[in-house]
Amino acid sequence: MEQFFQQLTNGLAVGSIYALIALGYTMVYGVLRLINFAHGDLFTYGAYLGMTLLTSFLLHDHLGLALGLVVLAVMVMGLVAVIGVILERAAYRPLRESPRLSAVVSALGASIFLQNALMLVYGARYQVYPDILPQTTVSLLGQQVPVMRIAVVLVSVTIMAALYLFVQKTKVGTAIRAAAIDQGAARLMGIDVNKVVTIVFVIGPALGGGAGLLVGLYYGQISFTMGWIYGMKAFTAAILGGIGNIPGAMVGGLLLGVVEALGAAYVSFAWKDAFAFLVLILILIVRPSGLLGERVAEKI
């Protein structure tokens, strides 16, 4: 029971990080029908930028831990959003009218480029975050759970709820949803699709970069290649929930995190990374539209 509870909360924490990244995949896919393969690397950039900003400005010393972290998060998310917008301009916008394969290849190229640029700057070795967070645990339902684990879940869920409200309730959100359903019709209704794409490439990378910062703070160790495995898992989460579907990405992320944590604990730790891929393949075989997605008949 003890182990189960620990693994469950651990899975929820990892899963909420997957969910944050998955939102970027799902929003971009929703609007552009493109798998942004470089999204995982934007997540890594968040982690590295967070580390650099943390060590060079020592915001937590000047502003106090809580405010310092908030300012840090805003800076990281803003910077990664800028990279995201540049990425879209450079790698995707010129290929908007090209065949799918072109955009896919360009996305992979962007991913390789971003990853190796990071490696050239920071080196290929693991990087370690400064230890600034309390290691305390709290009692939850009679079990001791690390405070940070709860914080990760709470922060992620809050961000996701805010995003959901933004997309559902605001005018910009409505424009994003409209462009996702039918770009042509959205354009006819006076929606500037290019602006929508830019907004999506601000929000997605910002959330991904924020997730990178969380991983750095929570696990303390980051590497320049970690974006690919996190990215694949987050993408799995997006498919699991139904790609293009924002609540789906959240549900998919949490579900995948829990499945993976329990699988690693009770089936085999060595096969931990294979579970996510197995889930991905199974869901695409059985229900490609995802858990919350709708089936669409192909037009002939």
């Binding site: 798998i35 072109s102 360009s106 190796n116 694949m232 096969w271 891929f277 991905l280 393949i281």
Partner: protein
């Protein structure tokens, strides 16, 4: 036009054969080894080209089939002392069966979904190898002590000997794949790439040809795995990771998807250029990434996109005359 293309291609192949044949006269062992690498990658890229270039199926887990072939040879060689070259057919069959088995449930998936699924399959295979699946693969350390191949009583061990073995296999492959391209089978793969719905609606069993493309591509990758295992005498999972699949994908796209000479050129450039600019070795992947992005805007069809027209003007006239 078509006739001139064919002549140019023939001249190109003749020059390539002459260069390879004479290479031991003027290249040292290091560069001969680079040429051997080129040969292996040409084989892999051509085998991927059947799937990705000809049939238009986004396969980014090709290294898995390569791995299955290499491990088949390694296991047969170290456990059962079967001579290396005798394991070639075994590698081909095992890799093809494996490909058919794993591709069957997913092969109907739309373009980029298939891409992601094949990435997943490739990773699962790598993880399985690391975890010493069935107690056969030797875990993360892999398998060592693979025997050297013997051809007509001659033991192949030095770079120039491997050069002839590998490139003979390349020559046969190029010849056969050109034949394949200019046949009912090759056309069916092209129909599938151009428009699967129209292909099925014209009477092509698209499900079958998707699987056949995977099976044949995997068989060739598997045999290349045999050659690789024989050359290295030691293999481990890290040689068959995700990046290996990405590099193969890049070779096909860069050279010219669906074009045999294009893919050969793509594989050659991707292997040789980093050797030429060794001072920038660490920036190699950075440049690849940049090239992939720029290519898609500037020249999405690849460097050498031409394909040999299967029917020349004269064929059509002859066909018309025979009425």
């Amino acid at each position: 036009m078509a006739a001139r293309t064919t002549t140019r291609l023939a001249i190109g192949y003749a020059l390539a054969v002459a260069f390879i044949a004479a290479a031991p006269l003027f290249l040292d062992a290091y560069w001969l080894d680079v040429l051997n690498s080129v040969g292996l990658y040409v084989l892999l890229a051509l085998s991927l080209n059947l799937i990705l270039g000809d049939a238009g199926l986004f396969n980014m887990g090709h290294a898995a089939f390569y791995a299955v072939g290499a491990y088949t040879t390694a296991i047969l060689s170290t456990r059962f002392q079967i001579p290396i070259l005798w394991t070639l057919p075994a590698s081909a069959v095992v890799a093809a069966l494996f490909a058919t088995l794993v591709a069957r449930p997913v092969v109907h998936l739309r373009g980029d979904y298939l891409l992601v699924v094949t990435i997943g399959l490739g990773e699962i295979v790598r993880i399985a190898l690391v975890n010493d699946v069935f107690g056969l693969t030797g875990g993360a350390n892999g398998i060592f002590g693979i025997a050297r191949p013997t051809v007509f009583g001659l033991k192949i061990r030095r770079p120039h000997e491997f050069l002839y073995l590998i490139w003979a296999f390349v020559a046969v492959t190029v010849l056969l794949f050109h034949r394949l391209e200019q046949s009912r089978f090759g056309r069916a793969l092209n129909y599938l790439r151009e428009d699967p719905v129209a292909a099925e609606g014209s009477g092509v069993n698209t499900a079958r040809y998707r699987l056949l493309a995977f099976a044949l591509g995997a068989a060739w990758a598997g045999m290349t795995g045999t050659l690789y295992a024989a050359k290295m005498t030691i293999i481990s999972p890290e040689s068959f990771g995700f990046w290996e699949s990405v590099v193969l994908f890049l070779m096909v796209i860069l050279g010219g998807s669906g074009s045999i000479p294009g893919v050969i050129l793509g594989a050659t450039l991707v292997v040789v250029l980093p050797e030429v600019f060794r001072g920038f070795a660490s920036a190699r992947m950075l440049v690849f990434g940049l090239v992939m992005m720029v290519m898609m805007v500037v020249r999405p069809q690849g460097l050498l996109a031409f394909r040999i027209l299967r029917f020349k003007e004269s064929d059509v006239r002859r066909a018309g005359a025979s009425q």
